[in-house]
């Protein structure tokens, strides 16, 4: 009755994996101790650390899949495996750039709703050029684009709007007007990938400003309300449209 436990990880790359699947790694990753010995004796170069990404957990026999999705692999830098899954619920991760909505001002700290299980906190000093005398002008209901400084399962997430050198690099309060809407996390990752055709094609249609938050929130602002709404509808629909359908939809609008 026992089903075969475990398939080789390399064989499953690009295929759908379900929770409970066990992925076996090639032996070289498991023999850390042997790797040390090889290094000293100038033998084969050690393989480096294998990164176990979202959707996978390390267990005694190999990698246990915890989310359903497509298995991906990146051979660079010691190799990384992760599961590409479609989700709508965001879980804060350190270093992610997200759009938050200010819900409360509690003394020196703003509380932001980022779509996770807890509101994130943002100190008023975490803006570029902010001092105790020069406070940023943030009201309840404003949109903030920032990144997570602290985000783990045990602590309340903290955000900042400056990077490690003190520059804002595009983060901070998002201006007036524009339209904020929510999409699935998979679409955001697709839009943020280096050669995304959707954004290139849309920019040929109308000029617009776009802010993408890893928590599934997108903020769009174009010259008129109608153009903004057209862009919003195309972005929402592009999750399910194929490339041809998208080109047809855009051709209809650019003809006008």
């Amino acid at each position: 009755m026992a089903a075969e436990r475990g398939a080789a990880a390399e064989a499953c790359v690009g295929q759908v994996v379900l929770p409970g699947d066990l992925l076996l790694l090639p032996a070289q990753y498991d023999e850390d101790a042997e790797g040390e010995r090889l290094r000293l004796s100038a033998g084969a170069a050690p393989v480096g650390r294998l990164l176990c990404g979202p959707g996978l957990r390390r267990c005694a026999a190999g990698l246990l899949v915890t989310k359903c999705g497509l298995l991906r692999h990146r051979p660079a830098g010691g190799g990384a495996y992760w599961v590409d899954s479609q989700q709508k619920r965001y879980v804060p991760v350190k270093g992610d750039h997200v759009i938050g909505i200010v819900t409360a001002k509690a003394g020196d700290v703003f509380k932001l709703d980022v779509g996770g299980s807890e509101p994130a906190s943002l100190s008023y000093l975490a803006f570029e050029g902010a001092t105790k005398r020069n406070r940023p002008n943030v009201q309840v209901g404003d949109l903030i684009y920032g990144q997570f400084l602290v985000a783990n399962k045990d602590m309340e997430p903290e955000m900042v709007c400056i990077d490690s050198s003190g520059k804002s690099s595009g983060m901070g309060i998002i201006g007036q007007d524009g339209f904020l809407f929510k999409v699935s996390l998979g679409l955001i990752r697709k839009l943020l990938s280096p050669k995304c055709e959707i954004i290139q094609e849309l920019s040929q249609l109308y000029p617009f400003e776009l802010v993408l938050g890893m928590n599934g929130r997108i903020w769009v602002k174009a010259k008129t309300i109608q153009q903004t709404l057209i862009i919003v509808n195309i972005l929402e629909a592009s999750e399910y449209m194929t490339a041809e359908q998208r080109k047809q939809a855009l051709a209809k609008f650019s003809g006008n």
């Binding site: 009755m1 026992a2 089903a3 436990r5 759908v16 379900l18 929770p19 409970g20 066990l22 959707g55 957990r57 246990l64 915890t66 989310k67 359903c68 999705g69 497509l70 899954s85 479609q86 989700q87 709508k88 619920r89 879980v91 996770g116 299980s117 807890e118 399962k153 045990d154 998979g186 399910y240």
Partner: protein, 194 residues
């Protein structure tokens, strides 16, 4: 945060999973997620039978969901019965599993529900209809997990001998293979579109 809808035969249950979301202070657990299951019958208010089924579902889901990854949060699973033609508990289990899978919650394995009915003459009927359930001597429901076909939950109504229970369990484990293959095919279809 997504509803899922599996339909074995004519029994259908709609499942919606919400979470991990903020938990009320009275309900939050410091080291794991608090899982809550709500089962709504097709007509009427939820009664004692729904409450006991909610507990069975909750304990099965807690065994599988990796709650330690989301402490102090609440995960809510809402099941709405759309039609009931027999084998309701196993249909709810299947709907719950697909709902959790769809929502992207971390799971250590999948599970499925199988119901067996024992005829007065000893024949085992899998996934019985309401009529077969009423005429049967005993109705057994099992929740089987996907990694080693172990039993997560067993619920019995009626009387049967230990050998008969073992036989029903073996039949359920075999039937579970078909259900897990169905899960795999559905997920494959979903991801083939993107």
């Amino acid at each position: 945060d997504l509803p899922a809808l599996p339909v074995p035969g004519d029994t259908s249950v709609l499942a919606g999973v919400y979470g991990p979301a903020e938990a009320k202070l009275s309900k939050e657990l410091p080291d794991r997620a608090a899982l809550e299951v709500l089962l709504r019958p097709k007509v009427g208010l939820p009664g004692v039978l729904e409450r006991s089924r909610e507990q069975l579902l909750r304990q099965t889901c807690e065994a599988v969901v990796l709650g330690v990854l989301h402490p102090r949060t609440a995960i809510t699973l809402v099941l709405q019965v759309l039609s009931d033609a027999g084998s309701l508990l196993s249909c709810c289990l299947n709907a719950a599993c697909i709902g959790l899978l769809d929502a992207g919650l971390p799971l250590s394995s999948l599970f499925c529900g199988v119901t067996c009915a024992l005829d007065p003459d000893g024949t085992i009927i899998l996934d019985p209809t309401t009529r077969q359930e009423q005429e049967a001597r005993a109705v057994l429901s099992f929740a089987i997990d996907s990694s080693e076909r172990k039993v997560l939950m067993a619920s019995t109504k009626g009387s049967c001998s230990i050998e008969e229970m073992q036989q029903c369990l073996a039949a359920a484990q075999r039937a579970a293979d078909t259900i897990f293959q169905f899960y795999r095919d559905s997920v494959r279809r979903r991801y083939s579109k993107s």
